[in-house]
């Protein structure tokens, strides 16, 4: 039970039900499509970069609670950051959900709610798909991102 509750924390379920920044941007400067062929999850990420700072990030798509919540939390967390800081956040997130690193013990790490994902190896890709897609949007990729 504990592992399931750890995975499906209230914060994750809340983001799943009411995703933040679930919309299209008026004038995105970067965009990318992400796709997990294994489960059919699709996510599109748009962002607006100005003066070296991510001003806006939004996403759309269909997916499980984990991928939707991961996208929702991600959009909230990277806004206002430089691309470098945002990508450092991605690396920390990736390390945490794959079990390569512990969650940041500092108080206020809002990504820590995804620490439970490591106990569910089949679900790691659900959590990282939005981040990979965000990364592609930053670097101006034209091909859809695939987790395979």
């Amino acid at each position: 039970m504990s592992e399931l509750r750890e995975l499906y924390q209230q914060v994750i379920l809340d983001h799943h039900k009411k995703p933040r920044n679930f919309r299209k941007l008026a004038e995105p400067t970067g965009a990318a499509e992400g796709y997990n062929p294994l489960c059919g999850d699709r996510v599109s990420v748009e962002l607006e970069l100005a003066d070296g700072v991510i001003r806006e990030v939004a996403f759309q798509g269909t997916g499980c609670a984990i991928s939707r919540a991961a996208a929702s939390v991600m959009t909230s967390e990277v806004r206002g950051k430089t691309p470098e800081d945002a990508l450092a956040l991605f690396e920390r997130f990736r390390a945490m959900v794959t079990g390569d690193a512990e969650a940041d013990p500092e108080a206020g790490d809002r990504l820590a709610v995804f620490a439970g994902v490591r106990e569910f190896p089949a679900r790691v890709k659900c959590a990282t798909l939005p981040w990979h897609t965000f990364n592609a949007a930053l670097s101006g990729a034209t091909e859809p991102v695939s987790t395979e």
Partner: protein
């Protein structure tokens, strides 16, 4: 069965004893294996046959004059005979060993398909095919400048015969359809479809991957031109399967792959191909797999396919009623004629979340698009949860599935 209910004598607990893998715990709960459409479990007799082959008879087939090679050849060719009788084919020469149904379909597409499909011609499939019965035909059509036509399915997930007949046209050169849908469990009206195609002189391939474990198949009675299935879905090993083809077709088809075993003589100027079915079996085959498959079919026939079908239908009816009673659960695929597949969506919860929660209850189901993405598109869902039953499943396991869905609701609210 003589009027008696066939299931009255079905002792599921005794049958379960034949499958060692079923007796284990997953996440501290007894395993409820409800993913049989993905792959089925193997009875002890199949495991024994494979081990016995490797410990006593292992040798290459069709070559050696030594005793082991003779025994291996005898066992392997004996399995071919077993497959012939299982499918009720007229002649063992009509049975080609393949890796699985996917290879069986590709074999026909790239031999007969290349012979009979030309520019402007059509290949006809249905809207509920597995990707393996879509993509080879797409590749063939692209290569030949032909068109792939798709018979639409109705809201219940059935294939209306009239819709099939409407699309069967003067340019149709091949028909390839599932006997049973993997994603929905729909049993297609294949007998009538074959008759209609034959009236137009069009050969028909049946993808039997989801059928052979659940019903008696008689290729002569069906009068299909080709029938293919995978061993691992019918309680045999992975990597082996069979393609049945009417001798009249196989005789006129060119080889699929070149190599050893498929030739009579080779020189740098000219190679003479072997007779059917060996012409289609290049290279050393999966000998242990073929032997294991033969034993699996023998085991299934020993249980009685009519009794298996009767028990599974009762289980399917029980499961259908049980799932229909769960609030917010919608069954996808409600055709009148179905094999033991329960595909469903839980409103507001993605199939993968359902699958993860059920797994923690020890229940193995498939979640996703089931290699049938067009079916998901047709029903407007990204994915479904699929419980697929075998004769060793129980009502208690269905009850646990329903309880697991209550758990899903508890977590997701």
């Amino acid at each position: 069965m003589s009027g008696r209910r066939a299931t009255a004598a079905w002792d599921v607990e005794r049958v379960r004893k034949d499958f060692p893998i079923l007796h284990q715990e997953v996440h501290g709960r007894p395993l409820a294996y409800l993913d049989n459409a993905a792959t089925s479990q193997k009875p002890q007799v199949v495991l024994d046959a494979i081990l016995g082959y490797f410990t006593q008879d292992n040798a290459n087939v069709h070559r050696g004059v030594h005793r082991l090679s003779e025994r291996a050849t005898e066992a392997y060719e004996g399995a071919r005979g077993r497959i012939q009788r299982f499918l009720h084919a007229a002649d063992p020469r009509e049975i080609v060993f393949v890796r699985g149904a996917t290879e069986g379909i590709n074999l026909v597409a790239f031999t007969l398909g290349r012979q009979v499909v030309g520019a402007g011609d059509e290949v006809l499939i249905t809207g509920l095919e597995h990707h393996s019965n879509i993509v080879p035909w797409q590749m063939l059509c692209e290569e030949r400048g032909a068109t792939l036509r798709v018979v639409p399915i109705d809201d219940a997930g059935a294939v209306p015969l009239e819709a099939f007949e409407r699309l069967l046209g003067p340019r149709t050169r091949l028909v390839a359809v599932a006997h049973v849908s993997n994603a929905l469990g729909t049993v297609l009206p294949v007998r009538a479809m074959i008759q209609a195609a034959h009236r137009e002189g069009v050969p028909v391939l049946l993808d039997g991957a989801q059928a052979v474990a659940h019903m008696r198949v008689d290729v002569q009675e069906l009068d299909c031109d080709f029938y293919t299935f995978s061993g691992h879905k019918v309680f045999g090993p992975t990597g082996i399967g069979a393609l049945y083809g009417k001798a009249q077709w196989l005789e006129r088809m060119p080889p699929f792959q070149g190599g050893g075993d498929m030739i009579k003589s080779v020189s740098f100027e000219k190679t003479v191909y072997n007779d059917v079915p060996y012409r289609f079996e290049a290279g050393t085959p999966h000998i242990a797999g073929g032997i294991g498959l033969g034993v699996a079919l023998e085991y299934l026939e020993g249980l009685g396919l009519d009794r298996v079908a009767a028990y599974e239908h009762e289980l399917l009816a029980y499961g259908t009623a049980a799932l229909e009673a769960v609030p917010d659960v919608r069954l996808i695929g409600t055709a009148r004629d179905k094999a033991s597949v329960l595909s469903f969506v839980v409103e507001g919860v993605h199939a993968h979340d359902v699958g993860t929660i059920l797994d923690r209850e020890g229940i193995a189901v498939r979640t996703g698009h089931h290699c049938a993405m067009p079916v998901m598109t047709r029903f407007g869902v990204p994915a479904t949860t699929r419980a697929s039953l075998a004769f060793y499943n129980t009502r208690e396991e269905i009850d646990r599935l329903v309880a697991g869905l209550a758990r899903v609701r508890e977590i997701f609210g």
